[in-house]
C-alpha cells in the first residue's frame, strides 16, 4: 500500500442509510491493514436532514474529518446533496451520484423549487462522474432500501479493497435475512460502475 490516504465523503438525506454504508466501507477498509477513521456526526433530529459520513484510510490518518477540496470520492445518495457537498471534492476526484431526487421541506411547502439542471451542471464541473439510478437497481435487487449498498458496489470498483473484504464487511453489517438482497444490490452497483 502506498502512502496515499483515501478520502471518501458519503452524503445523503437522513434515512437513506449513509451511516450503514459508511460502516460497510470502513470495515472493508480495515482489511488493508492501515488506519481507518470515520466521522459520523449528526445534528439534531436528522430525519430528513442533510447527512454526511466521512471515511478516511491509509497507512497514517490524523484527522477523522477531511478538508474541503480533498475528497477523492464524493458518493452522493441524492442529487441536491451532491451539489451541496461538491466543494469537498478535489478537482481530480470522482463523483458518484444516485440520480434520485428527494425534495426538502422548503420545496415541499412551495417556498422554493428543486433545481432542475443539476445533472448537466455537475457533469460539466466534474469530468470524472458516474450517475446511476441506484433506486431502480435496489428495486431490482429486491428492496428499495438497498440504495446504500448499490452505491457501495459502485464505489468498490474504484478502490483497492478486495471483493472478499467487501463481502465480509457486508455480512458483518447487515442482518442475515437481508444478506442475499444486499449482495445482489452490491453486484448491480459494481456492474454499473464497470460500464
Amino acid at each position: 500500500m502506498s502512502n496515499k490516504v483515501y478520502n471518501i465523503l458519503l452524503v445523503g438525506v437522513g434515512g437513506q442509510g449513509t451511516i450503514l454504508a459508511g460502516r460497510i466501507l470502513s470495515r472493508a477498509a480495515v482489511s488493508l491493514g492501515g488506519e481507518v477513521k470515520v466521522s459520523d456526526i449528526h445534528g439534531m433530529a436528522q430525519r430528513g436532514g442533510s447527512v454526511v459520513t466521512q471515511v478516511r484510510f491509509g497507512p497514517k490518518v490524523y484527522s477523522p474529518a477531511m478538508a474541503e477540496g480533498t475528497a477523492d470520492f464524493l458518493v452522493a445518495f441524492e442529487k441536491l446533496e451532491a451539489r451541496r457537498w461538491l466543494p469537498y471534492l478535489n478537482a481530480d476526484g470522482k463523483l458518484i451520484v444516485n440520480k434520485e431526487e428527494i425534495h426538502p421541506l422548503p420545496v415541499l411547502i412551495g417556498a422554493t423549487t428543486y433545481p432542475s439542471a443539476l445533472e448537466d451542471e455537475m457533469s460539466k464541473m466534474v469530468t470524472n462522474t458516474l450517475m446511476l439510478d441506484a433506486f431502480d437497481l435496489a428495486r431490482q435487487a429486491g428492496n428499495v432500501k438497498a440504495v446504500n449498498v448499490v452505491m457501495m458496489g459502485a464505489l468498490a470498483k474504484y478502490l483497492p479493497i478486495s471483493r472478499e473484504a467487501w463481502e465480509e464487511a457486508l455480512a458483518s453489517s447487515v442482518p442475515e435475512r437481508f444478506l442475499e438482497i444486499n449482495k445482489k444490490a452490491f453486484q448491480l452497483g459494481w456492474e454499473t460502475a464497470g460500464i
Binding site: 459520523d40 456526526i41 484527522s63 466543494p87
Partner: protein, 596 residues
C-alpha cells in the same frame, strides 16, 4: 491484540469497564449519550439514566464515597446543571476514583451553545484530560481513575463532538477487577459545613500544587520534536488538524490541559523560533501561557467561534508557516485543496424537521393558529420554532419554559399572560420542569403549561426516563404518573388530550389559557417512531383537492404540491390524520375510507 473500530463514546465505555468502574450515571445529551447506553450493556457495572445531570453526578459521588470507581457523563450544558455538586466535590475529593465526562459540542451540532467546559476544570481545580482519538479516550479513562485516586480529586475527561462521534481503531483489553475501597465515616472530608469546608479548601490548594508538579512529567503530555523553526502547542482534536496540515513541525501535545506544565511549556517555546497555540473554542491554554509572559500566537489567527477543522488551520497558521517554508505546510499549498466546484449558495437547504406523524406538530399548529406567545423548552419539539410552524418564542435551556412564561406574565400583566403558554417535553419536565411549575403555583402565576408526553426522550435517540417505566438496562420500573405529579404540585386544572385530535387540543388550549388559575395540559401520544403498527395512510382525492395548500402549513414531510394538487407520499405517511382534519375541502382521507 484485538483491534476494533469504535466511536470515542464506545471507547470510553470500554475503557471504563476495563478500568473496573462499578457505577455509571448520566442524563442523555448529544454528544455524550452513547457512553452510558454502552456501559449499561456490561453486567459488572450498575448504569442508570438519572433524572438530570446534577443527580447523575451526585449518584457518582455517593458511589465514590462508598469506595467504588464511578463515572458521570453529560453534555457540556449538563455540567451547568451539575455544577453545584461539582464545586464542592472538588473540596471533598473522592474515595473510589471519580470521572466526570464532559462532552462539549463545538460547532453546536446539537446544542444551544458551544461553551468551553475546560473552564470548569480550572474553577474546580481538578485535572482536565483531553483525548484526540478513540484509543486515547480509552486509555485516558483508566489513567483518569488512577489519577483521581492518587490525588484524591475528581477528574474531568473532556470530549468534543468530533472525538465522541468519530471512529478509529482501538486495542481492546480485559477488565481489571478493582475491589471496593473501605468505607469509613469521615465528616471532616464529606460533610461540608463551613468550618470543614474551609479546612478542605487548604487541602485543595495543596493538591493543586502537587498536580502542577505532576503535570511537568505526566505521560499525558508529550513533545514531538521535528523542525524547530515552528512549534505548535495543541490539545484534543486540534492536534489531529495540526498534524494533518503540518506533519513536520514540532508539536507539544497536551493531554492534560489543567493544570498546565509551566516548565515544559517554557522549554518548548524557548526551543522553537515561533510558537503557535492551536486550540478549539476559547484561548484556555493560550491565556495561561500569556500570563506567564511567554510569546505565543494563537487566537489572533484561530477563531474562537465554531468547530475547528483542517481547512481553518491550513488557512491561518498553515499559511503563516508556508510563508516560511511551503514544505512545512503541505496542506496549505493551493493545489492541495483545489476543489471541483465552489459552493452554490442558492441551493434549497434541508433543515431537520419533525417526522411525518410527529405528535408535536398538531400542538404547534394550534398554538400558531391561536397566535400564542410560546415559552419553549428543549427537545424535538423545539423544531416548532422553525418554518412553517414558527410557533415558539423562546428556548433558553432545559426547564426554562416555566420560569420564562411566568416572567413574561409578571412583566406584562395578566392580559398578556393569557396569551402565554409554556411547552415542555416529558423528559424535560422530569429533568427540571417540576421546580418551575411549583414556583408558578406558589407565586400566583396563571400560566398554562403543555406537557408533550411522547413517552420517550426522542431528541437524543429514545432513551427511557422515569415516565416510561423502564430503566437504562431496560428493566421495568415505577412509571411516573404525570397527572398526579402536577396535581401534587398544586395544579387544580389538568386536562389530558390526544395530540392527533386537533379539536380537542384547540379546545383545551382555549379553555386553560382563559382560566384565571395555573393549569396543565398533558398532550399524550407516543413518538411516531416508536409505534410499531402502521396505521392506514392518508390519500388525496384529486377531484376534491382545490390546491389551497392549507395542509402544507403543517410542514409534514409526507405532503407536497405537484403544481395543482397536494400529494401524500405513501412511504412517509404514517396515517396520523392531522391533515385530514384541516383540509377545508375534506379532500384528504384515510386510505380505505375514501369510498365509504
Amino acid at each position: 491484540m484485538k483491534k476494533e473500530l469504535l466511536i470515542g463514546n464506545h471507547a470510553l465505555a470500554r475503557g471504563a469497564w476495563e478500568a473496573g468502574v462499578r457505577v455509571a450515571a448520566a442524563y442523555p445529551g448529544t454528544p455524550s449519550t452513547e457512553i452510558v447506553e454502552a456501559i449499561a450493556q456490561y453486567k459488572e457495572v450498575y448504569a442508570e439514566w438519572s433524572t438530570n445531570e446534577k443527580v447523575a453526578l451526585e449518584v457518582a459521588i455517593g458511589a465514590s464515597i462508598g469506595g467504588a470507581r464511578a463515572l458521570a457523563a453529560m453534555k457540556h450544558v449538563g455540567v451547568n446543571v451539575a455544577a453545584d455538586p461539582l464545586m464542592t466535590l472538588a473540596y471533598t475529593g473522592v474515595n473510589g476514583g471519580l470521572i466526570l465526562v464532559s462532552a462539549d459540542d463545538p460547532g453546536l451540532f446539537s446544542s444551544q451553545n458551544e461553551q468551553d467546559n475546560r473552564f470548569y476544570a480550572r474553577m474546580a481545580q481538578m485535572p482536565c484530560l483531553e483525548p484526540s482519538d478513540s484509543q486515547e479516550v480509552k486509555d485516558m479513562v483508566g489513567f483518569g481513575f488512577d489519577l483521581s485516586e492518587q490525588f484524591d480529586t475528581p477528574v474531568m475527561l473532556r470530549l468534543t463532538t468530533r472525538v465522541a462521534h468519530s471512529y478509529s481503531l482501538v486495542e481492546l483489553g480485559e477488565r481489571k477487577e478493582v475491589s471496593l475501597k473501605d468505607y469509613s465515616k469521615e465528616p471532616t472530608k464529606y460533610v461540608m459545613l463551613p468550618a470543614y469546608g474551609k479546612a478542605r479548601h487548604y487541602v485543595v490548594e495543596e493538591r493543586r500544587k502537587k498536580l502542577m508538579e505532576y503535570a511537568e512529567t505526566s505521560p499525558l503530555n508529550r513533545v514531538e520534536w521535528a523542525d524547530k523553526r515552528v512549534g505548535v502547542i495543541t490539545s484534543g482534536i486540534a492536534y489531529q488538524y495540526v498534524k494533518e496540515v503540518m506533519p513536520d513541525v514540532s508539536v507539544l501535545k497536551l493531554g492534560l490541559t489543567y493544570p498546565l506544565p509551566e516548565n515544559l511549556i517554557r522549554e518548548f517555546i524557548n526551543n522553537v523560533e515561533t510558537c503557535y497555540v492551536v486550540e478549539e473554542l476559547e484561548p484556555f491554554i493560550e491565556d495561561q501561557i500569556r500570563a506567564w509572559g511567554l510569546p505565543v500566537i494563537g487566537k489572533e489567527l484561530i477563531p474562537r467561534v465554531d468547530e475547528l477543522n483542517s481547512n481553518i488551520v491550513a488557512k491561518t497558521v498553515g499559511a503563516k508557516v508556508a510563508e516560511l517554508d511551503p514544505e512545512l505546510a503541505p496542506l496549505a499549498k493551493p493545489e492541495a485543496m483545489q476543489a471541483a466546484a465552489t459552493a452554490e449558495t442558492n441551493l434549497p437547504n434541508r433543515p431537520p424537521l419533525m417526522c411525518a406523524g410527529c405528535p408535536h406538530r398538531a400542538v404547534f399548529y394550534i398554538l400558531k393558529k391561536l397566535n400564542m406567545v410560546v415559552a419553549g423548552d428543549i427537545g424535538c419539539y423545539t423544531l416548532g420554532a422553525t418554518p412553517p410552524l414558527q410557533a415558539m418564542d423562546t428556548c433558553i435551556c432545559m426547564g426554562a419554559s416555566l420560569g420564562v412564561s411566568l416572567g413574561l406574565e409578571k412583566a406584562r400583566g395578566n392580559e398578556f399572560g393569557r396569551k402565554v403558554v409554556g411547552v415542555i417535553g416529558d423528559s424535560t419536565f422530569l429533568h427540571s420542569g417540576m421546580t418551575g411549575l411549583v414556583n408558578m403555583v406558589y407565586n400566583g402565576g396563571n400560566g398554562t403549561l403543555i406537557i408533550l408526553d411522547n413517552s420517550t426522550t426522542a431528541m437524543t435517540g429514545h432513551q427511557d426516563h422515569p415516565g416510561t417505566g423502564y430503566t437504562a438496562s431496560h428493566e421495568e420500573a415505577h412509571k411516573v404518573d404525570l397527572e398526579q405529579v402536577v396535581k401534587g404540585l398544586g395544579i387544580k386544572r389538568v386536562q389530558v388530550v390526544d395530540n392527533y385530535d386537533l379539536k380537542a387540543v384547540e379546545k383545551a388550549i382555549r379553555e386553560e389559557t382563559e382560566a384565571d388559575e395555573p393549569s396543565v395540559i398533558i398532550a399524550r401520544r407516543p413518538c411516531a417512531l416508536l409505534s410499531k403498527e402502521k396505521e392506514a395512510t392518508c390519500v388525496v382525492d384529486p377531484e376534491a383537492c382545490r390546491g389551497c395548500k392549507i395542509c402544507l402549513r403543517l410542514g409534514c414531510p409526507a405532503l407536497s404540491f405537484d403544481g395543482k394538487k397536494v400529494v401524500v407520499d405513501q412511504v412517509q405517511c404514517n396515517g396520523c390524520g392531522i391533515c385530514t382534519q384541516i383540509c377545508p375541502a375534506k379532500a384528504i382521507v384515510k386510505a380505505g375510507e375514501a369510498n365509504e
